[in-house]
């Protein structure tokens, strides 16, 4: 049974519709990430699930129950906010106790839950401190602990790592992953950071302008992006995009982009039309350096050394391309040109007009 189901959920502010007919099933125990740029509607969608925003249309189910008009406290959810939302005048322990107060549990049960959460999250030495005496990472763990003690059916995370520095983000991200593995609770997680999404999610929901662009596992959205937006949003550095047109050579369709020519993937041969405008996409990691043979000569504009790998900013004619190669293979300093080849198995073809990926 789905833990959370959104059926054609819509959100309007006055006459302005900001979330358009979102359909989503979150299975029990699944870690689902809502990913997208600022203003795409991901936080609004999360807040509708939490009950902090009214639903303008459609239906929301949690644990098999329609909860459109159910108060947040009765939805069996717990939320971790972007700015932690810890009560500054209460100690860590009091923060957790306050979260449990409405449940009217016995003192023993409250102590038990707090002790367990503190043990799992390493909060035991911090219980008597106030939030102002904690670091950012500690505050985030306290926020997670406060959510955990309520033993909800669904955890909601609203960009919990966005206020942390890069190193701490990696650390806390790992803790969130471990926590999910340990508790197995359903998680709905909002972020604009694709690294968080790719590393944490069982399923990624990519949103743009209030619409869902694609739903899939990290592998699916990376290897088979449904459209140009997903293709360029997922993956760092971004996918290289080359405008091309469909031409014929020896009875087979080819894709011509300036001085570059690609054999159309066999699966698409029958669906491509002559003179059709397409966009060819190649991920930087699917470009390799070759000494001779099939390939293209490219001038090296800039080389960016990243330790284990290098990014080569290249130019073939007027087309700018980024290649990602192992650091050991990067051309010597002051090298002006190199030769590259594209892996035909990993070419992506999009219809330029609609932006949709062309697949068999």
């Amino acid at each position: 049974m789905s833990s959370v189901t959104l059926r054609n959920v819509v959100k309007r502010y006055g006459q302005v519709e900001v979330v358009h007919g979102v359909d989503l099933d979150v299975e029990e125990g699944e870690f689902v990430v809502l990913l997208g740029p600022s203003g795409c509607g991901k936080t609004t969608t999360l807040r509708m699930v939490a009950g902090l925003e009214d639903i303008s249309g459609g239906e929301l189910e949690i644990a098999g129950r329609v909860v459109n008009d159910v108060a947040p406290k009765d939805r069996q959810i717990a939320m971790v906010f972007q700015n932690y939302a810890l009560y500054p005048h209460m100690t860590v322990r009091q923060n957790m106790e306050f979260a449990l107060k409405p449940q009217k549990l016995s003192g023993t049960e409250v102590d038990c839950r707090i002790a367990e959460a503190a043990r799992i999250l390493g909060l035991e030495p911090l219980l008597q401190r106030k939030p102002s005496q904690l670091s950012g990472g500690q505050r985030q763990r306290v926020a997670m602990g406060r959510a955990m003690v309520r033993t909800p059916k669904v955890f909601l995370f609203d960009e919990p790592l966005s206020n942390l520095d890069a190193k701490l983000r990696t650390q806390v991200r790992l803790e969130i992953a471990k926590l999910h593995k340990r508790l197995g609770t359903t998680v709905l997680y909002v972020t604009h950071d694709q690294v968080e999404a790719m590393t944490l999610a069982d399923k990624i929901v990519i949103m743009k302008d209030g619409y869902i662009e694609q739903v899939g596992s990290p592998e699916e959205v990376f290897a088979r992006p449904r459209n140009l937006f997903v293709a360029t949003f997922i993956g760092s550095p971004a996918m290289n995009l080359m405008p091309a047109s469909v031409q014929a050579r020896d009875g087979r369709p080819i894709l011509v982009s300036g001085s570059l020519t690609f054999d159309a993937p066999a699966a698409l041969a029958s669906s491509l039309k002559p003179a059709q405008n397409v966009t060819v996409g190649v991920r930087p990691s699917d470009i390799s350096l070759v000494n001779a043979g099939a390939g293209y000569d490219a001038s090296i504009e800039v080389t960016e050394y990243l330790g284990t790998e290098a990014l080569l900013n290249l130019k073939i004619g007027s087309q700018e391309i980024v290649a990602q190669v192992p650091a050991s293979q990067r051309p010597a300093h002051n090298t002006q040109a190199t030769r590259i080849a594209f892996d035909p198995r990993h070419l992506h073809v999009f219809d330029t007009a609609s932006g949709q990926a062309l697949r068999a």
Partner: protein, 274 residues
């Protein structure tokens, strides 16, 4: 002298001048209240004299000054408490309601504070006389509250605006209702604001003279009117006036000192993002 030492000296000098300006009248009141009447207006002024408590003795024996102090306390504390309760709740609603009209409501409330007291004192007299509230502490509590509530609303709104709504949303998700969230989460965080509002309300109510003069008689007379009653067309009893003035100062000072911890925090809060 370095520039920072020079700046510090200048700052202390300015503080000293301000203190001198504000403390000199209080010093004069205290000294005059302890001077025998014979040397009060001597030329040159008598800096060395035998202090006397006669004026304080006369103050409390010739008039029921202790009852007038009690009246002032009842009125000031009553108005302060009522204004804090009503004003704080109104401020919370204005802060949290997302509505274009709410700004109009807020301005209307503020406009009450701009009203010149002299313009409403006669209508209040007529109203209270017709409903039998003249010469009662309740009349003054009502009148002072009409001035204190707007002040409280505007002070507290600023403090409520500083409390992140995410805290209230977190409490809401945990299962707490609006009232519990307000009293356990929001209000404690605005304690400095409450202290500032309480001090301003109390001082205004304690020091107020015009309404107290016009709306009270013998039963509900407050200390400000009582002190001025020693100034008559026949004689001005300076000693008793000075003694009374000094006694009037004391509760205000005690109140401010009690709230000092939160007062400093409240007056500077919002200037630095926490």
């Amino acid at each position: 002298m370095t520039s920072s030492a020079r700046e510090k000296t200048l700052v202390y000098l300015l503080i000293g001048i301000v203190l001198l300006v504000f403390m000199t009248p209080i010093y004069l009141i205290l000294v005059s209240s302890l001077k025998p009447s014979a040397v009060m207006f001597s030329r040159p002024p008598a800096f060395i004299f035998t202090p006397t408590l006669q004026h304080y003795y006369d103050l409390f024996t010739m008039r029921p000054f202790h009852l007038q102090i009690l009246n002032s306390l009842v009125v000031a504390l009553g108005s302060t408490a009522f204004s804090l309760v009503v004003g704080t709740m109104a401020a919370y609603a204005i802060s949290r309601i997302k509505n274009k009209r709410i700004n109009d409501v807020a301005f209307w409330i503020l406009s009450m504070r701009m009203f010149p007291p002299i313009a409403v004192v006669v209508p209040y007299y007529i109203i209270f006389k017709s409903i039998g509230l003249l010469d009662t502490p309740l009349a003054l509590i009502i009148v002072y509250s009409t001035f204190n509530i707007p002040l409280t609303v505007w002070l507290m709104k600023g403090f409520f605006d500083e409390v992140p709504e995410a805290l209230e949303e977190a409490a809401q998700i945990d299962g707490h209702g609006v009232v519990a969230t307000f009293f356990h989460v929001t209000l404690p965080l605005t304690a400095p604001g409450l202290a500032v509002a309480a001090v301003f309300c109390f001082i205004f109510s304690w020091n107020e003279f015009l309404f107290a003069l016009m709306l009270t008689g013998s039963k509900a007379q407050t200390v400000t009117v009582a002190v001025m009653s020693f100034w008559s067309s026949d004689a001005v009893q300076w000693g008793r006036i000075m003694a009374g003035s000094f006694v009037v100062l004391i509760p205000g000072v005690i109140f401010v000192l009690t709230c000092q911890r939160w007062l400093v925090q409240g007056l500077t809060m919002g200037s630095v993002k926490g």
